[in-house]
């Protein structure tokens, strides 16, 4: 009988009032791949950080191969046999050294290693490691010159040089192509055969289908599902991940008038399936999909930040191919980006300046800004969206997250749009602000087509007239927001089958 590699019992962790881990129980077995799923903010990364020693738990315990395990820091965790390969690969490799040195780096750090590097010795040892791991690259190549996949392999090979009991892979395929991912999976298969317990964090259903022996799902800081009987029930896993508390928001579904935005045979990347989509005047369309489903890419293409591989976009019948964000805005396509902290908020500015930033031109006389007009317009929006602030001259940093997001949305409602794109508008927003934003978006929808990019189903159900599901760069389902077949919707998201309860354009 094999002892469990890692056992986590009742793990607790809070940040201030925010209870992130609420008693997590997880068991990892040797020679098995456990996939950890969970939406953003479910607590996955905190769990990983506790296991790999970056953070200490507030409560609960862990055992490693039967012995108590409480790493003081990351180095301690590695020494005891828990190794993590993080999402950003360059944490795991030294880009300016060659492959051989990277593979042998951990040995160079050991005190038992002599003062001088014996070059021939090092290369021979590195060649051996590379062969064992099935890595086929020039050992003298600089790591920074290698492909992302090769770098990933080297990061994992470095981790394996420690002969770990537990290997944690945090979204390893997020920047890999399909063939590159295949090579990674082959390596993971080999490690599994060697008896390593692997914790694999991913959103990509295709990955999960390929390698999962079992699936653990987290939601709101707790385990919401464990699936370990073959065949694995992937749809149930997605349901457990997304949850869908029925919302008490009633959406009076509009089908809209004439078409505003038309996508014809649009391929997001070379080799992706063509996308055909129509969004009508007055209609709010939610594009739902997991991370990597292609919805961010679609938003970037529509906003002039990226080019499609092929296909056409038309707005009101005219061809639309923006050369830049500036161009897109000039043609009436506005976007409120996700991650407002990095992509939208100007921390040094007050509320009025933040809100009016895109349309300073129309608030100027010649080049001279009219502070009075800025304030008046901002004041109007504060009233309409119910932004809680003392004055529009207050710094943006004085607002709560929800109110900041309202300002960022208000920014794009100052002037009429042809197409309004909202990427994750409810990120880091409390329920009250979410309702306010949704209501206002729907109330002002006439005169434009609105596309909302979302990962959460219940958010989509609150705001959309129509829900379009994306997976692997393609549209795999479309549902009118009326008596939605949630099971079918979840199946679409997890990539099980392609169904549609609404008309396919």
């Amino acid at each position: 009988m094999s002892v469990d590699a890692l056992k986590v019992n009742g793990l607790q962790k809070s940040f201030g009032k925010n209870h992130v881990l609420r008693g997590i129980d997880v068991t990892l077995e040797p020679g098995s791949v456990t996939v950890l799923m969970g939406a953003n903010g479910a607590g996955k990364s905190t769990l990983v950080k506790v296991i790999c020693g970056h953070q200490r738990a507030d409560g609960g315990s862990m055992t490693l191969a039967g012995h108590p395990f409480d790493p003081a820091n990351a180095a301690d965790a590695i020494r005891q046999g828990v190794v993590t390969v993080h999402q950003s690969i360059d944490d795991g490799v030294i880009p300016d050294l060659d492959v051989a040195n990277n593979l042998m780096l951990d040995r160079l750090v050991e005190r038992s290693h002599g003062l001088f590097v014996r070059e021939r010795h090092l290369r021979a040892a590195a060649a051996k490691v590379a062969a064992e791991m099935g890595i086929d690259v020039n050992l003298r190549a600089r790591v920074s010159d290698l492909s992302v996949a090769d770098r990933q392999m080297i990061a994992i090979a470095r981790a394996m040089a420690r002969a770990p009991k537990v290997l944690i892979l945090d979204e390893p395929t997020s920047s890999l192509s399909a063939t590159e991912a295949d090579r990674l999976f082959a390596l993971i298969d080999r490690l599994r055969d060697q008896g390593v317990a692997i914790l694999y964090i991913s959103h990509r259903m295709s990955d999960i289908r390929r390698i999962a022996d079992r699936i653990i799902v987290m939601r709101d800081g707790a385990i919401s599902g464990t699936f370990d009987t073959a065949p694995l029930d992937y749809e149930a896993a997605v349901t457990a991940m997304l949850g869908h508390r029925m919302t008490d928001v009633d959406v009076a579904v509009q089908s809209g008038s004439g078409p505003v935005l038309e996508l014809s045979d649009l391929r997001l990347t070379q080799g992706a399936a063509p996308i055909n989509l129509e969004a009508r005047d007055g209609e709010v369309v939610a594009l739902v999909g997991l991370l990597g489903s292609g919805k961010s890419r679609l938003a970037e293409i529509l906003y002039g930040m990226a080019r499609p591989a092929s296909g056409t976009v038309r707005i009101n019948g005219e061809n639309y191919a923006p050369s830049s964000v500036e161009d897109a805005v000039a043609q009436g396509v506005f976007m409120s980006p996700k991650d407002r902290g990095t992509n939208a908020v100007i921390a040094a500015f007050d509320i009025a300046d933040n809100m009016t930033l895109p349309f300073l031109k129309s608030l100027s006389v010649g080049s001279l800004l009219s502070a009075a007009r800025q304030k008046t317009r901002a004041q109007e929006m504060v009233g309409q969206l119910g932004i809680v602030c003392q004055s529009v001259s207050d710094g943006i940093g004085t607002l709560s997250g929800g109110n900041q997001q309202k300002v960022m949305i208000a920014r794009w409602l100052l002037e009429p749009a042809q197409v309004l794109l909202l990427d994750e508008p409810f990120q880091g927003v409390d329920i009250g602000a979410r309702r306010d934003i949704g209501r206002h978006i729907r109330a002002t929808a006439t005169g434009r087509a609105t596309l909302v990019f979302l990962a959460e189903i219940d958010e989509a159900l609150e705001i959309a007239d129509r829900i379009v599901v994306m997976n692997e760069g393609a549209i795999v389902g479309e549902h009118k927001n009326q008596n939605v077949d949630l099971a079918a919707l979840v199946a679409n998201i997890s990539g099980a089958q392609s169904t549609a309860t609404g008309p396919q354009p």
């Binding site: 897109a328 990095t342 040094a348 895109p358 800004l369």
Partner: protein, 336 residues
Amino acid sequence: MNDRFLDFAIRYGFLILLFGLIVYFSLAAPGFFGPLSAAFVLQSVAITGILALGVTCTLVVGGFDLSIGAVATSALMLSAYSMVILEHPTVVAVFLCLGMGALVGLINGLLIVKFRVPDLLATLGMMFLLIGLQRIPTQGNSIATGMTLTDGTVAEGTFSAAFLWLGRHRFDVVIDRLLPMPVVIFIGIAVLIWLFLGFTRHGRLMYAIGSNERAAALVGTPVNRYKIAAYMISGVTASIGGILLAARLGRGDIASGNNLLLDSVAAALIGFAVLGAARPNAFGTAIGALFVGILLQGMTMMNAPYYTQDFVKGAVLVAALVFTFYLSSRRSGAGH
């Protein structure tokens, strides 16, 4: 109560300190207080102040321009070369210098936005390049009327009266021949940049770029164009500083301009602290330059030795940076 005191200190601390200095020097150094002395202080800070206003524009977009000192001395040499050796009229010499400044700014900007060279490195390279380049046409010699050229002829051109007027003319204000031309130009540029940065949409967008470049780009701001423009403004103001320097000295004096660079950067950074702005701003930069000027004038009049000047400049700068970064962060912390 405590918060309000802190807020008051951050907002008005530097202006009160400035006022205190003026009172102190007026009492301690006879002849310090008066229009003549004020005009002199302004004159001594005019050139570094003009450079500092340019560097303020690059600081606003989150950049930095190390080449301004070298641009100024290059303009100094170029104006001398143009008038003394090529015997150009004043207008040609002035436009050559302004064009050179704009071109250097454009190249700096392109290096930074198109070739992705970090701003400090790009402008550092440009600085060295210019320090060398300005000496090549004269093989390291200063330029003056009557100098012998490499081909054996004598340079017959002179700095025209109109050009020298730019550096030496004094307007009658309160008393005759009081206000020097460079001061008028300094004040003019300060007002222009103050209006531009504070009250035009271009200025607002430049501040947005400096605070969050990605967010500014995502609302459709042509970020690259604004950044290049900032470096061009910096280059042109630096060349104006060089023209005034040439007109004051009356010769093309080889010099590295390092002190011009350091003094003007100090003025711009001290400006962060004025009125608790905690960010680059034209008004603060002008006050910062003035602050240093008053301090140095007063100390010289009290016979303080030369090495205390750098010490005092450094102390003022450190104090200003503490004002800006420590006190302001405490204030914003208390605001939540």
